[in-house]
Amino acid sequence: MDDSTKLFLQRFMRRIPSYMLRTTLEKWGRLTAAQQKSIDFTQSKWALTEALLTICEENKLAMKHLIELEMIYIMDNPNQGMWYVLQLLDPEDDAHSVELMQFKEQFKSHLKELVRHVSIKIKNHTDQAVWIRIAWGDAFSRPNHLKPTFGVHYLQTPYVFVTNLTSKQKPLLSQAVVLSTRYQAIKDANLSGRKLTAIRDLLMRKYQQVFPTKYPSPLAENNQTISNPHIVKEQAEPAANRLHMACKAFGGGALPQLQSAVYKLKTKFRDDPNKTMTEREEPFRCVVKFESTNLLESLRHCASSGIASTPVTPLLSCIPLKGRNYFVITDNDSGPSSQTHQPQN
């Protein structure tokens, strides 16, 4: 076992919480039952690492085995780090018939053509997801396993979720993905979040959907909840209205957890009393960022409780509709003045 392998294991041990170690090792299945038993999981991390190192040496385990261990851990706990979404465009005719083995081979060969030193590991997860782990190297150095990129692709969907991808590596990965999935182009989907499952649900519509035109009117639904004839809500109508509006924008059920929404404004400053600002020709640039542990729930609550005005501005409601949380807003010169705030790419 060389030093880099040792270092890798040490880093990994530092990252994984002790309580998860046992199950992860079991799933890994590279230790014998006796070895598994011999480890005292109440020890300090440092001692545990030492113990594991000796076992790995005994079993002659190499980097590629340890990578498996890391993948198992990441696949079980995908909700760490920032995940970004890439969207594939223009499928070719056979795009829908790509299956796992084919994708695997194609991806590996395409990427290896682009980069000489690269280590790729692809695993199939239970829910149809293909997990790709890439350790990058360059022309002169071997793959760096300490900073791998993870990608998740659901076959037959146009989305790829990536984390820990630098801008230098992005074109390489994009090209390999495009070629191996039989698409023609790829672009940034402008969606990011800490929870892989949440952004996946948002894109694949795995939550309660809204159909703005068909959302039931408030009367049919809310009047059933009247509990006591002695309690009367004076402003029941506006409240129901607000709730209706909020649900119209965001739906009634549980929403995927997004952490932020960013609006990059490149519009002209409009505030009539403030002449000096309004008269400026160039757009007023600023960034508006909304943050919350569950942004969509928060927005819906703001609207239904009256903190934010209703109807909900399309700028907010289009987050779930369009499945993105990064917007650049520019003046739409052609449109009427009320419609100038158009989210554009």
Partner: protein, 184 residues
């Protein structure tokens, strides 16, 4: 803007009517549920987010015996909304038929200054300022009991006591600034 008036309607027999005003519409619901449990007399609860109340309910609305403003001290909006709503009350209400109920007063997130503002507001209007623990069931029960105590008097259900009389005893005062002596 229509003013809410205390004596524009006749009282109902053996019943009392309370209006809970809270901009967040959280605590008022649990209070209402507990208030209507009272059995010795009928309690009608009206819930509002802010005043003025909609004109179209004017007909069906009984005479309001007590107006309670619920203020969440961790939110500036809550205090401002209560302050704005006060203007829609007939002055007659301030003769003992208004009280303030403050939540989250002991929270680290509530600045001292806001509590002072609320206190001064209540003191200047000669209204009682009640504190409530809205997070615990016991706290809600207790807050309900206290509101009922005031409501009973305000609705004229307690012989030999009037709302003005009680409010003279309970109205808020601006307390002195007590420094923690260990730091003095």
């Amino acid at each position: 803007m229509s003013l809410l008036k205390p004596f524009s309607k006749l009282p109902g027999l053996n019943s009392a009517n309370i209006l809970l005003v809270e901009s967040e519409e959280q605590f008022q619901q649990s209070l209402a549920d507990a208030l209507v449990e009272e059995t010795t007399f009928t309690v009608n609860v009206r819930l509002a987010k802010s005043l003025p109340l909609p004109v179209e309910n004017e007909e069906s609305r009984p005479r309001i015996d007590l107006v309670v403003f619920i203020i969440n001290l961790t939110s500036e909006l809550s205090l401002q909304s209560a302050e704005a709503s006060l203007k829609c009350l007939d002055p007659g209400y301030f003769l003992g038929k208004v009280c303030f109920m403050v939540t989250n007063a002991r929270s680290a997130a509530a600045p001292v200054e806001r509590l002072d503002v609320a206190r001064k507001l209540a003191a200047s209007l000669h209204c009682p300022l009640l504190f409530a623990e809205d997070q615990t069931p016991d706290g809600v029960t207790n807050a309900t009991e206290r509101l009922l105590t005031i409501l009973k008097v305000a609705a004229g259900l307690v012989p030999m006591a009037t709302a003005l009389y009680l409010s003279n005893l309970t109205r808020s005062t601006v307390p002195p600034d007590i420094e923690q002596p260990s730091f003095n």
